[in-house]
Amino acid sequence: MSEQRGHEEWKQQLVKCIRCGTCRSVCPVFKEENNENTTARGKVQLLEGVMEGTIKLTPTLQERFNKCLLCKACVKGCPSGVRTDTLFLSARQANACENSLPLVKRLAFKGLTFRKLFDTGLRIGSVMQHVVMKKSADGRGNQARFNIPGSGLDLRRIIPPVAANTLRDIVPKKTTVANPIGRAVFFPGCMLNYIYPEAGKAVVNILNKNNWDVTIPDDLVCCGTPAFTSGDQATGRELATANLKSLSGDYDVVITACASCGAALKHEYGEILQDEHIHHNWEELSTKVLDISEFVSKYGNPALLGSLPLKITYHDACHLVRGMNVSKQPRQVFADVPELDFRNMKDADVCCGAGGTFSMAYYDLSRRINDHKLTNAEATGADYLVTGCSACRMHITDGLSQRKSNMKVMHTAELIDLAYQNGTQQKKGGK
């Protein structure tokens, strides 16, 4: 991105900031750190400083912009409508150009663009993970045996194992139904592909049960969120372009089940793609993007839902509630499930503290933010915490293990799929 154009776009946003400080009252990072260098207005002012030349793109500055969850609470709260999300992403890009990213990250992001290499790497990882990871005490996940260099994995942290079989192993590339209402293309994303494939399978089940054909193209690559949120827009663009190509086709909807992937496809690609032609293709595609809970709310047949007497609460992933404006929809679906005891938690839409790579660089801080979330979840008395983002799921599960909680976590799609299964059984039984 040319520096000139970047600064012009910055200027448009920066001028809107009236420094009122409302961002202080909504930022989860500020609430923990109590430091003006973590507020949105602080970062906005730093960018003004960069434009004036008073502030340089130093590693210190880079660090200030890294210490942000990109949860968009400030975007929502800002009375002047400053688009701090696009501004800070752009700042990370500028910083990355100036200071370059750590080698490990650069390699990892580059690796993402080599789909087959990435896939093989993760499969090997699935097999070899026990070498460097040991099973956690409660059996929910793995912990690093030692400080793995470059991994950013805190020794306390419990992460899910890489699945033995990937989503593509357990679900065919294309599933068809007898009289399809429509054709869906499903973008599972890396988490659903390699870590929580069962949730991905649930998505396909949901689509099929509602009489939609589902295709999972085998040349999809990572959505690019880890890359472009770190400032590597070049890799992000490469991945976006590849995905766009793969997703184009005679499809009625593009289904996502990961908040970050969905927000990337629906909105963020629009910020990083520059070529006019590709941008146009993206515009067309973005109108078709639906999170699975949106799909069920809009097209799902409520009669399919059988009774599911579980006590649940729901966490609104940032990229769903503020990134895709999806928050009413899962609740509408919950209301339709017979006997489901849904309890709204306090601050359901406040960030869980994961923030993607944030939780690796700032594990302690992300733990503290996560603890508030879990306290609120536990206060509802629910047995299950449901969410539509696998990064949240991973971080929340770690938190539950840390505090030895019995609460379980599941993906929204898994809940709906369970209800569908019960629905089928109950119909059979009822006959």
Partner: protein, 463 residues
């Protein structure tokens, strides 16, 4: 600041709470005004004793100290215009005591006002001053600026609730003022001097506040007027004939249009003004007061009055008033909020003056505010990148002050003098009054280390 001093200060607050990097100090160079000035150092103490120790060192080495809460002030009070130390108070957040029987609270200054209000509410009591910034601002900041809020006309402002203070003086000594019973002692009223002193006399480290009963019921109304003069007359008549409303907010025609453009809720865009009125108290009294207000509105030619029948309806009526800020942002990004205040009977004249000034300097201005106490907020909507326009804004603001003073008003009803209005302070105090202010300041802070460059310590820069 030499390394030895830095080491001494670091020993007091710890390395984690001393910010020296340029990128961090930059974040502490501004508040909610548009001026920037870099501090030399930012310190984040956690206790009164740390603060006293810091003051002793600053005093010994002539280092200015600028006390800072959430820095949401609108007069530049927290901006370190002469560099020095920014002393961030937000680690002192304890509620030391809420005494339900004797109805007082003792709190540390760094607590966010909203958090304090919630705690008081939970204890079944009521603390009326609720400045618009209460979700972010700290109680210490409220005291230092003597914050107001929409409930001021009936319940009074922050100073009406301050019973006493603990203050660290510039030399590090500690004094207590007032008392927990009624705040009145003898001799000069130090509590009242420190309240509203904008960080120029000492650092407030503990606050004793009066609490009162929650109002039993309240009623919200919105009255529409063809002429803003009628709205103003309604305000005066209502109050002198027996009803002191809790809240009385006014919005002029341009404000109404801005909000309607933003919200699309069917506001009367041809109206001269809207009044948002709230009365509270004993339910029988409220019923009667509502009737009285309706009568007065009718007598003063209101074109319509709407009385909210449910809490939701009341909330909807307030929505328009709350949306003024974002609505203004849509017109022009740089919103300069003024608070030159006039006696309530002169609101129509002030409105005319503001409109004339807007025309003279070709600026977009909207007028809204707390009509009950004459505290109008003329807001200039401009763009800070347009240097030429900003020069006109500066002149317009000066004329606003002159207009307010000419009408028997004051430079600031709520925001304080700070840095922004310091050049004009002498217009209101007169030369003798200004000297008296300097003499009092000198008595408490002879080295002029507390928030220099503000209030009576303003000196015009040689230009």
């Amino acid at each position: 600041m030499n390394q030895a001093v830095l080491n001494e200060l670091k020993a007091i607050v710890g390395e984690a709470h001393m910010l020296t990097e340029l990128e961090d100090r930059y974040c502490y160079s501004f508040d909610s005004t548009f001026i920037n000035s870099m501090p030399d150092l930012v310190l984040q103490p956690s206790s009164r004793d740390e603060i006293a120790a810091i003051c002793r060192i600053a005093h010994a080495h002539d280092i200015p100290i600028v006390t800072r809460g959430a820095a949401t002030g609108l007069s530049g009070g927290a901006v370190p215009v002469k560099g020095g130390i920014v002393l961030e108070m937000t680690r002192l957040t304890n509620i030391i005591e809420i005494n339900k029987v004797n109805r007082y609270a003792i709190v540390e200054p760094g607590i966010i006002t909203q958090d304090y209000l919630a705690a008081v509410d939970k204890a079944g009591l009521f603390y009326p001053p609720d400045p618009a910034s209460s979700k972010m601002s700290t109680l210490g900041g409220n005291i230092a600026e003597c914050a107001g809020g929409p409930r001021g006309v009936k319940y009074g402002i922050t100073r009406d609730y301050v019973l006493g203070l603990e203050v660290v003086l510039p030399d590090g000594s500690i004094v207590q003022t007032g008392n927990l019973v009624d705040g009145d002692m003898s001799g000069p009223d130090w509590t009242m001097l420190f309240c509203g002193s904008e960080g120029t006399l000492g650092i407030i480290t503990k606050i004793m506040l009066k609490l009162t009963h929650k109002p039993q019921s309240k009623q919200t109304m919105m009255a529409t007027f063809d002429r803003i003069e009628d709205a103003a007359t309604t305000v005066s008549t209502m109050m002198s004939s027996g009803v002191i409303p809790t809240t009385l907010e006014i919005m002029d025609n341009l404000t109404i249009r801005a909000v309607e453009n933003f919200l699309n809720i069917g506001l009367p865009v041809e109206a001269g003004a809207i009044l948002l009125i709230e009365v509270d108290g004993d339910p029988k009294a409220v019923e009667k007061h509502v009737q009285h207000v309706l009568k007065v509105c009718e007598e003063c030619n209101a074109s319509s009055v709407k009385v909210a029948k449910t809490a939701q309806e009341a909330d909807d009526l307030w929505k328009a008033r709350r949306s003024v800020s974002p609505a203004c942002g849509k017109i022009n990004p740089t919103k300069i909020s003024e608070d030159a205040t006039v006696p309530r009977s002169r609101i129509p004249e002030m409105v005319s003056a503001v409109q004339a000034i807007a025309k003279k300097y070709d600026l977009k201005m909207v007028i809204f505010g707390h009509a009950g106490d004459g505290n109008l907020h003329p807001n200039i909507l401009s763009n800070k990148h347009d240097k030429e326009e900003m020069a006109r804004v500066e002149k317009a603001v000066e004329e606003l002050f002159q207009a307010a003073l000419k009408l028997g008003g004051t430079l600031s009803g709520e925001h304080g003098i700070g840095y922004m209005k310091a050049p004009f302070l002498v217009w209101e105090t007169g030369v003798e009054g200004f000297q008296f202010g300097k003499d009092v300041k000198y008595a408490v802070d002879p080295k002029s280390l507390m928030n220099p460059g503000k209030l009576f310590d303003y000196r015009p820069s040689p230009s």
